[in-house]
Symmetry: C2
Subunit: 127 residues, 2 copies
């Protein structure tokens, strides 16, 4: 399997194993010194153990599904459909892998809904 295929498989597994609360399986994908960042809140989590705990403690009956995974060498991006009950939010996740195929860096964006600014109604439709 080439590097991109391995990266694509790992990114998909990262979403699937998190969704299944397969903590051992998720741990197997992560480098021990993985760094996880949420730039919107300027939060950073260092290390596999802390990141697993963060996921295990995350409140709510959350569910994740990969809408798209794009892999390129040791980089991947995952477009995720996240749901808690009736609430839905998309996430955008950027992954970096090490030489040996473990995830070393995760950057997570959680874009929130906003009202469209005025002045472009002549160009846009709403959905």
């Amino acid at each position: 399997m080439d590097e991109t295929s391995r990266t694509r498989q790992t990114a998909q597994a990262y979403v699937d194993r998190t969704e299944r609360r397969d903590w051992q399986g998720l741990s197997d994908l992560l480098a021990e010194d993985v760094v996880y960042e949420m730039p919107q809140s300027r939060e950073r989590i260092r290390g596999r153990a802390a990141l697993l705990q963060f996921n295990q403690e995350y409140p709510g009956d959350w569910h994740l599904q990969a809408r798209r995974v794009v892999a390129d060498g040791r980089h991947a991006a995952a477009w995720i459909d996240a749901r808690v009950g009736d609430e839905h939010q998309d996430a955008n996740v950027w992954l970096e892998l090490s030489d040996d195929g473990l995830i070393t860096r995760i950057t997570d964006y959680w874009p929130e809904p906003y009202d469209p600014p005025a002045g472009r109604e002549h160009l846009v439709e709403r959905f």
Copy 2:
């Protein structure tokens, strides 16, 4: 050039030509029936002409730089550093290309800063 390399080059050019206000060059990358969506505001723009006009009319002295481009077959994701004056925001853009290498679909996310929720201070550091 293989499909992924062509997609990667097109995604990078999409950012660069928009930054340069090279409207003819940007137009050359877009399918005539390109669809541009901003899921956060549920806005959609249909067609190359309207999308070019949207970019041309976009207010402010904005600047775009690709922080990372990930390409995979006919899909790409671009992680963009966007600035207007002193203000900075990251964007996450998902691209789909046609058989002949033109951009047919663009999905744009503009995640905004938020305060970290309480209850995870024991796991996170701030940056």
